[in-house]
Symmetry: C2
Subunit: 81 residues, 2 copies
C-alpha cells in the first residue's frame, strides 16, 4: 500500500467512524483537540498525519490507534460490479 | 498515554524488534528506505513520526503498522521490583 493510499484510506475510515457516531467535523475537532480544517484535510487524505495526531482522532472516535489503522490495512476493495 | 510516552514506547518497540531480527540501524534504514540518523532519532523517542514513515519501519520489521502500534498501546509497566 502506497503512502497516498494509506492517507486516503485513513481519511475514509475516520469519516466513516465519525458518521457512525453522528459527529460533525467541528465536534470531532473539539473532542480531539485539533482544528476543524485539519480534520477536513485528513479526511480527504491530503496529509501524512503524525502518529500522535492520529491517536488523538482515534481516541475521539472511541478507538485505539491500532484499531483505526487496522481498518486501513485490512481494507479489501469491494467486488467490482 | 501522552504523545511523549507514545513516541518513547514506539522507539523502544522498534529497537526491540530490530534486535529480534538481528538488524543494525544501518540495515533497518536501508530496508525501510529512511536515513540511519532518522532511525536513531525515532528509536530514542525524540520525534513524532508520521503514519507513512512508521509504516515503512513496520514493514521493514516484517510487521503490519497496526501490529507495531498495538505493542505500544498494549504496553503494561513491569511490576516494580
Amino acid at each position: 500500500m502506497s503512502d497516498a493510499q494509506l492517507a486516503v484510506l485513513l481519511g475514509r475510515n475516520i469519516r466513516a467512524e465519525r458518521y457512525r457516531l453522528g459527529l460533525s467535523q467541528e465536534q470531532l475537532a473539539e473532542v480531539s483537540g485539533l482544528h476543524r480544517t485539519y480534520i477536513g484535510v485528513i479526511e480527504r487524505g491530503e496529509k501524512n498525519i503524525t502518529i500522535c495526531n492520529c491517536k488523538k482522532i482515534a481516541h475521539a472516535l472511541n478507538l485505539t490507534l491500532w484499531e483505526l489503522i487496522r481498518m486501513c490495512e485490512d481494507f479489501r476493495k469491494p467486488a467490482s460490479a
